[in-house]
Symmetry: C2
Amino acid sequence: MAALSGISVSALRFYDSAGILLPASVDPVNGYRRYTADQVSQARLVARLRRVGMPLPDIRRVLLGTPTAALAVVQAHLQRLEDGLVDARRELSAVRASLAPKESSMSTIVLPATSFLEALADVRFAASDDPELPMLNGVLLDFDAELSLLHLVATDRHRLAVSSVPLDSVAGGSVSAIMPVAAADELAGKLAAQTADVTVSIADDEISFSYADQAFSARQLDHDFPDYRRIAQPRTTHRLPIEAASLRRAVNEGPTRTMTSDRDGGQYQLTVLMLDGSGGLAVTHAEPEANEFAVGVNQEFLLQALDAGGDGQLLLELDGPIGPLAIRNPGRTGTFSILMPVRLDAVS
Amino acid sequence: MAALSGISVSALRFYDSAGILLPASVDPVNGYRRYTADQVSQARLVARLRRVGMPLPDIRRVLLGTPTAALAVVQAHLQRLEDGLVDARRELSAVRASLAPKESSMSTIVLPATSFLEALADVRFAASDDPELPMLNGVLLDFDAELSLLHLVATDRHRLAVSSVPLDSVAGGSVSAIMPVAAADELAGKLAAQTADVTVSIADDEISFSYADQAFSARQLDHDFPDYRRIAQPRTTHRLPIEAASLRRAVNEGPTRTMTSDRDGGQYQLTVLMLDGSGGLAVTHAEPEANEFAVGVNQEFLLQALDAGGDGQLLLELDGPIGPLAIRNPGRTGTFSILMPVRLDAVS
DNA sequence: TTGCTCCTCACGTCACGTGAGGTGGC
DNA sequence: TTGCTCCTCACGTCACGTGAGGTGGC
């Protein structure tokens, strides 16, 4: 009965004791409650009415009264709810006014927690952990009020990841803020189990999140973030549809060269992608012919970008041997990664 | 503090123990809680937030957090409320569908309980208690869906009272039903203390009311009510502004004749209103001159109609010595009484 | 002295949820 | 035998409200 009606077992027991839903029969020896099939529809009605907050005495009236009387009770409840929301809007706008005398610089947006988490996961890998580049040790939250979009951006100068998510509700003007990766990771952990909405407020030097019955605040990173819109500008000469899984396999299993970073002297694996004149792509060590060109990229970065792009069909955009390489999911146009290539002439 | 903040004393004590609103100081000897002036605005904020159903942990966050964090909590709560109402509308329209397969013949309206009570009081006196006229032993509820008005009507064939009240919310088509006076009186008693809305459903042979946490149903009187719209048609030759209190005094203190009813042989007092050629009105026994005419009406009925009209300036509409007499309040055009005159020639 | 306000402490309300401790059928 | 579902009974939660019984200042 609990499974059929969507009412918890403890609530069914309570409804029995409260005289709302009496079982058709109770086993005299073990006390098991038995319900008939048409009690299921009654139980579903009760579940519906409770879900919208109707008190049990009113629910009893709906169940026991004539259809006319029941309808009067239902309409009266709906009217209470409508009136309540009108009141709440009034009260809360008064609260907002008292709370934010400097409201001008404050923006608040609402979006599903899952959308936010997904977008965060789509860009998190690209954030830098280099302490000499503090403005890159974070994720940019870039709120576009006109388009009602939130763009998340992360970069370490070698690659850049962007994810855009549409908003449920917005208040205030466009604003952007850098959230430290540590705070972003902590928030992601807390949001992992959330299914409802999250509300984000950005003001001054702070970013605040509120969701379900919890809240989370972080200080903004007080640095200038690179102009990602300019970097993300498409400058593409070749656009190739690729199958994510097969390219991932080719990159994983294909040849690589071990490289040493100019900056920190660390080692990484270099993958070379070769584009032939007919649009074919290969992971290779061969020298490019006259009608071919080769692009070198960090193997790990390429794999992470492919993972963020998701499964299935992706688009690989190339701009010659030294132009940036972009990976997009054609189904999610707001989400993409850009990789800076490694100059092969300097390598060989 | 309770008076200033609108929070009950018991709630203030509870907020102290719950750590929401701690008194600035507590008298060590008698335990009196003392609050400072700026705690009043905090308390008012708490009252506002509770009024719209915000849980105490969230309220604590609003009080203790930065303005940014507080705003995020407030916006998140408002979003929950908005989403909740959207859900409720969906759930309840499903409930309505399951409840009323014969919805076509059912109408439901919502109006303030005070408006309904007032309208009922404005017409109740005119209802008949004659058991030979069962269709008049009630108050007609005539719901006009197009104009979103509810007309209440009562008559005993000697007089007719109408009161119209605008509706907050309507569902279904125009319909009318006769509510027995006994049920109307009982309902009036129950509604006397109500300040909120009442929801009225009319269907089949039933009228149902729902208000606050109570419900009330009555069977309709299954008879045809006279066509009050035709009777209430204005057929007026003279329209006099009158001052309610002074006419009431004149009728009370003026001469009357004792009459015997044709129908039941009961006795009543007859008041004669004389209209002279210059528009003057008098309560008198004199015979009308050539440019005058006189109308005889039941004194008690006239006084009741004046009472229902309210205080201040009223309009008295006459249509010669044997036409009906109407009393209106110019400020409440939907509410008026009509009295049938007693034929003076048959009397004298 | 009366009336008013404040106090503490205990218990009630609403609609359940959560163990503890135990049973019954597959 | 293990795991699952059902049971009762008692207690917890949330945001207070309601007495009972008593005190302090005007």
